[in-house]
């Protein structure tokens, strides 16, 4: 479970970076980019928080 949370956290952090890259390349609108960044950020804090709280 903890490992899955870490993977999810890392994927969400990558998504935070992918959103503006997609916007820059013209494959995503500005509002969609901002929403995707926000959503990925929420997932990052939830997943990384879960992973961190269960650190031995």
């Amino acid at each position: 479970m903890r490992k899955a949370a870490l993977v999810l956290a890392l994927v969400s952090l990558a998504a935070c970076l992918a959103a503006p890259v997609a916007y820059f390349r013209g494959s995503l609108g500005e509002d969609a980019m901002k929403n995707l960044f926000l959503l990925s950020s929420v997932v990052w804090f939830a997943a990384a928080g879960f992973w961190s709280a269960r650190r031995p």
Binding site: L17, Y23, S41, S52
Partner: protein, 453 residues
């Protein structure tokens, strides 16, 4: 017992837990230092510093080479000045300085450090206020503003200061954990904000005109009206002295006493080249995209929406809190009050500073002054640790004689600052000759007053 002696005894009790040199079993691996540096140097102030380079008319070439070389010099300062003394003594600066300068002067150093910390935390709160202000329709202060610009600005900074202080009182441990979660995300927010700003500056999706846009629209070489023009030297020296108190000033001995080897100082490069190079470049791009207006909150909001505003807010919060904690710890000895009470006082002081926009609008000068004020102590410790044995001057005389204050050190500290004040040089360059003066002055006084055998 004099009042100063009573105060220093109280301060000793506070730092009692790290009085003994670090044991072999407590040494930390290299990745621990890499993580610490990466987290600590992507702070709210990065939103301001990189943007100021743009406003000060730095050219692309000067920025690139200045940051590359300046940060390298900072890394080398940690590696060859700070880490070797730390791994040799395995002590914090507090306890080592106590042996050298006496408990009285160490006490004065701690108080100076605490006040400087409060001002720095005030700057973090002010930066956070620029993120929260727009939600209440409050405009951020302009570049020339020194005093609070509106009642709304004061209310927002007081509100943020109160929240930060409350959380600092409630628990440093939990907040430190939250800060650990924020660090990678804030760094990604810097990168994402810069990438999202590129289309607004007219950068083509294939990056073919990136350098041309960087030269013509971001680091143009033309300073904004009222701002001094910066050149390669300004950028290089700023990158070098941005953490002067930590490397040349030796306060990171607290960190490197846990290092297995002095070469671990090289891990500081992780923090320097991510926080003090990439993040500064990113904030420069973001400020150019909003028409060179110094407003960190707006910069990030325009780039990333509400997440950007949160990034600025969290960056301010997570870096203001340890700063508040350290300031509270240093001030605790003066009063002997419980930690919650002194954190409340430090928070109040910090909040009062944060109402003045000057704390973040004059941040570059403040960072220079902060390092300059504490730098002579680093020179004194360096001289006593490395030069005194080679010159046959006895070390730790303050400790051996039971002196409350090492007057040679006090004189060198005050004299160096006086000399720096009158130097006909730009503020950014004064610390280097100042360091030479402090080193030479302390050695000469040591030689002149050494006991005859």
């Amino acid at each position: 017992m004099s009042r100063l002696a009573r105060l220093t005894a109280r301060m000793d009790q506070l730092y009692e837990y790290d009085r003994e040199p670090v044991q072999e079993s407590a040494l930390e691996p290299g990745r621990h230092f890499a993580g610490l540096f990466a987290g600590e140097h992507v702070a709210a102030t990065e939103f301001v510093i990189g943007a100021f380079f743009v406003l000060h008319g730095v050219t692309l070439r000067d920025l690139f080479f200045g940051l590359l070389v300046g940060n390298l010099l900072a890394v080398l300062s940690w590696t060859f000045v700070c880490a070797p003394i730390a791994t040799d003594t395995r002590l914090t600066l507090y306890w080592y300085l106590r042996k050298i300068a006496g408990p009285g002067l160490t006490f004065v150093y701690n108080i100076a450090n605490a006040v400087l910390y409060c001002i720095l935390a005030g700057a973090m709160i002010a930066v956070s206020a620029t993120a929260l202000g727009p939600a209440f329709g409050i405009r951020s202060p302009g570049l020339s503003d020194f005093f609070p610009t509106s009642l709304g600005w004061v209310l927002v900074t007081v509100l943020i200061g109160a929240v930060f202080t409350l959380f600092a009182i409630l628990g440093f441990e939990k907040l430190a954990r939250f800060g650990g979660l924020c660090s990678p995300w804030i760094f990604v927010a810097f990168l994402a904000g810069a990438i999202a700003s590129l289309p607004k500056l007219g950068v083509a999706p294939d990056l073919s005109n990136l350098v041309e846009v960087a030269r013509s629209r971001v680091w143009t070489g033309v300073a904004t009206e009222g701002q001094e023009k910066f050149t390669l030297g300004h950028v290089l020296f700023f990158a070098w002295f941005a953490n002067l108190a930590m490397h040349i000033g030796l306060s990171d001995m607290a960190l490197f006493r846990f290092a297995k080897h002095w070469g671990y100082g090289l891990y500081s490069a992780v923090g320097m080249y991510t926080g003090h190079m990439l993040a500064w470049i990113c904030s420069g791009i973001m400020v150019a995209a909003i028409g060179r207006e110094m407003d960190p909150g707006r910069m990030a909001y325009e780039a990333l929406g509400v997440s950007g505003a949160f990034a600025v807010f969290f960056a301010g919060w997570t870096t203001a809190n340890p700063t508040l904690y350290r300031a509270g710890l240093a001030l605790q000895a003066v009063t002997g009050w419980p930690r919650w009470k002194i954190t409340l006082v430090a928070g109040g002081l910090t909040t009062a500073f944060s109402c003045f926009p000057a704390v973040f609008l004059k941040l570059l000068d403040y960072v220079a002054l902060y390092g300059l004020v504490l730098m002579p102590i680093g020179a004194i410790v360096f001289a006593e640790h490395w030069l005194f044995p080679r010159l046959g001057i006895p070390r730790y005389r303050a400790e051996a004689e039971g002196a409350l204050v090492n007057w040679r050190a006090a004189l060198v500290w005050a004299g160096t600052l006086a000399a720096c004040y009158f130097m006909p040089l730009h503020l950014f360059y004064r610390w280097l000759p100042g360091y030479g003066i402090a080193l030479a002055g302390y050695v000469v006084l040591g030689l002149a007053t050494r006991p005859r055998t």
